[in-house]
Symmetry: C2
Subunit: 159 residues, 2 copies
């Protein structure tokens, strides 16, 4: 099973693909969708949608995992995050990929073992779980963590 | 010039089309994109995107006007509004329709003459400006007001 994890943001959206093989979780790909501050906001949002459709069309993940929607610092950042997250959801529905949502607590617990882990700890554990040797930005490791959380969750589900 | 005005919301999105003919603004069409509370959130957001693409494909408006993004009551409603507004922006970029943004103050001033008008007053003036005799919900009259604001703004621009 190939799972796409996404960490949406209006300036940087991270994505990561992992595959469940027996009891292993294998790293497949990860990356960032970035826009400069100078790009009009609506173009940034459309770029997230367009690039997500490309990634989904290229890898055909069976399922997508994403953080659920009730966490943001303030009204303005919530509005912007909402646009970015909406772009990712629309792409998934457009491509027929089922969506699974997890709270930050569930994601951190699933990867690090406790819910108050910081992003650096999440990244370290993502590298260990996936036996990944290369560089990982914090946005891609958050996206991979979300995908890992979903794989772990499905594992429990199927027991 | 045919202008599409949109008032986005995750449960109800209003839209309205008006045409500028010489010094008149003519009513063309308006309506609502509604979803029940029972519909999963991501399906509601995709429905807004899909329906907006249909409307844009049907009417081919030259320009779209929408409220700008820095106004919402709280974090949770901002997140949801952001998703809905993102869906509308993505549809417009996808259909190649230029986007123009106005503050609620600009919209109300343009239609009613002062910025603190309530929704009922906006609706009354929309009906007068468009010589519209039928029923108008508050969501469609807000969308029509946004379109009227853009037509008036363009009028000043071209003087």
């Amino acid at each position: 099973m190939l799972v796409l994890g996404v960490d949406p943001g209006s300036r940087i959206t991270g994505y990561g693909l992992v595959e469940k093989q027996n009891n292993d979780i294998i790293y497949v790909d990860s990356g960032l969708i970035r826009s400069s501050n100078k790009t009009p906001f609506y173009k940034r949002i459309h770029k997230i949608f367009e690039t997500m459709v490309e990634i989904m069309g290229h890898y055909h993940p069976q399922e997508m995992a994403i953080e659920d929607l009730f966490y943001a610092k303030n009204i303005q950042s919530s509005l912007k995050l909402g646009h970015a997250r909406g772009a990712v959801l629309i792409a998934a529905v457009q491509c027929g990929i089922p969506i699974f949502e997890y709270t930050p607590l569930e994601i951190k617990k699933s990867v690090v073992g406790y819910g108050r882990a910081d992003k650096e700890q999440v990244r370290s554990m993502v590298r260990v779980i996936l036996r990944f040797k290369g560089d990982l930005t914090l946005d891609t490791s958050d996206a991979l963590a979300t995908a890992i959380c979903h794989v772990n969750w499905s594992k429990f589900e199927s027991v």
